[in-house]
Symmetry: C2
Subunit: 322 residues, 2 copies
Amino acid sequence: MKPKISDVAKVAGVSPTTVSRVLNNRGYIGEETRKKVNDAMKHLNYFPNDVARSLFIKKTFLIGVVFPTTSNPFYGQLIFHIENIAASLGYKILLCNSQGQEDKERSYLRMLQRNQVDGIIAGAHNRGVKEYDIPTLPVVGVDRYLSKNIPVVSSDNYDGGRQATQLLINKGCRNIIHINGPSYLETPANLRRKAYEDVMKENQLTPITYETAGDNQAVIQQLFDENPLVDSIFASDDLIASAVIREAKLRKRNIPSDFKVIGYDGTETTRLLLPELSTIQQPIREIAQKTIDILIKEINEEENHSEMETILPVRLIESETT
Amino acid sequence: MKPKISDVAKVAGVSPTTVSRVLNNRGYIGEETRKKVNDAMKHLNYFPNDVARSLFIKKTFLIGVVFPTTSNPFYGQLIFHIENIAASLGYKILLCNSQGQEDKERSYLRMLQRNQVDGIIAGAHNRGVKEYDIPTLPVVGVDRYLSKNIPVVSSDNYDGGRQATQLLINKGCRNIIHINGPSYLETPANLRRKAYEDVMKENQLTPITYETAGDNQAVIQQLFDENPLVDSIFASDDLIASAVIREAKLRKRNIPSDFKVIGYDGTETTRLLLPELSTIQQPIREIAQKTIDILIKEINEEENHSEMETILPVRLIESETT
DNA sequence: TTTCATATGTCAACCGGATGACATATAATT
DNA sequence: AATTATATGTCATCCGGTTGACATATGAAA
């Protein structure tokens, strides 16, 4: 059986209250007593039961983290930073991979509430899921609008979209096409597309957008077939950009002289696996930091309604595909 | 204030015990009563407090998951599957990114014990960390030997190493060099290197191994400088393989005619970003599945000491770099 | 009519730890 | 000698839910 406070007390020859005092550093404790208690804890291999503690203090130091999947390099890296920063502040992460499925998302939210998490960070959100609006529970969205009352942190998607498009234009491209993932998500990432359209129009060019739905390759082939004159593509993430490069090579397009590609995200993994890809890099660490800052403030009820939307700057990485 | 069982009881006009009976489906419950209780729960937006529940039943349905970082595509994908399968079985994941640091690993282990996790899955392990040997707590290792008493699940690293090396030999290579990450980890992955050495010797070839330490690029440059005749490289993971490809291109080596590269892991992300890379693909989903199977069995004390080491088959993916 | 399965309530104990109230004792200050 | 800061103990209560024991009531089957 796991030792409890009373077992420690017995071994140390003190009262359970004294042990609790040592553990929580409350009231007066003598140096020798503190030592006796600590020795007893070591001897018994005692670990305080945080479940019991949480029940009493009504705080778990748990943060629920809901994203589509850790498998995606962007989310993987973001979650890494979130976990790291949270850990340094004494918070722990309950991980949820919603896979973009409404029912999973909903059941994760129930689970998190049952587990009495102190707050939720979510970057997954399907239109149908209204359950994020929980009056008693702090929530922060990353790159997703969850509700009017929930703060969002994202990078400057509009500026990123402008920079990417402008770069292609500066390099002499005229038949620039944009590809993005499913747009049914209420996401600030849609601003990338908006920026693309704006910049194109400002330059008297016609914006054309394709949308992938799971199978990138099919859409990309269709894009090339339907637009033989396309001279460049702005992809809304690096994975799509990579697929574009592949298809362009199959079609004997010469990159970057004859055909240019720019992606979006600039994760560590992409930088390692596909360093030649030009891309718009999101400040992932900073997004994680800001998200946690805001969440912790909400948890501590230092409400700060000035921060309903936080937008962090992106960085253009020009490499060999533009 | 969050509603509790007694609040639900009041609204439903029944006793707290009856509510608990409905929640746990115990004893006799009338259909109308069940409905009244469920309606009351919906009306109050009641969620059972799993912290209180866990305290009493002495089970949290929490699994601690300790890996170096979700940012790495292999771990990201593995953790995704672990979380997924665990969720389908009613278990939740407490995420820990140890970053290969002993002190972090140790403090995570303490944290997990305080949180009364039902079990731990760990793929991080520094030699100095003996704390995994916790008599009362089920632990399963993934691709890492944690202790004599802890089951390990891995893919067939030796066979993978053999296949990779053999492929290069079959393609006519003779000056094959192996690169792997830091080998101070007690990992079955060292078998990849062992297999490489064995196959080389069987073919009267001299094995040469380089080891990276954080900075891949420097080691790779050194490798090329010191071995001008090198005609192929077997890298112990895809990220290193990618760096090798890059350096080879800089040195005007023609892949695959003049120079060949094979990697290891074959994650989704690598397949998307670098599909041309030949690699040994690990069965990540199956590793996750088997790991959880074993862990859950241990948790339920269906001890199965026949499974101290589980080895799953790998798959050679031959693409364009060999 | 008796027995029994069904249905619900009351009550108390328990899970492990936190905390406030209060008692007691020693040593240091005033 | 009186006061006070320090140190520790005892005891009861609470956190929210679970569970076993026991009482009670109804309708159906034996």
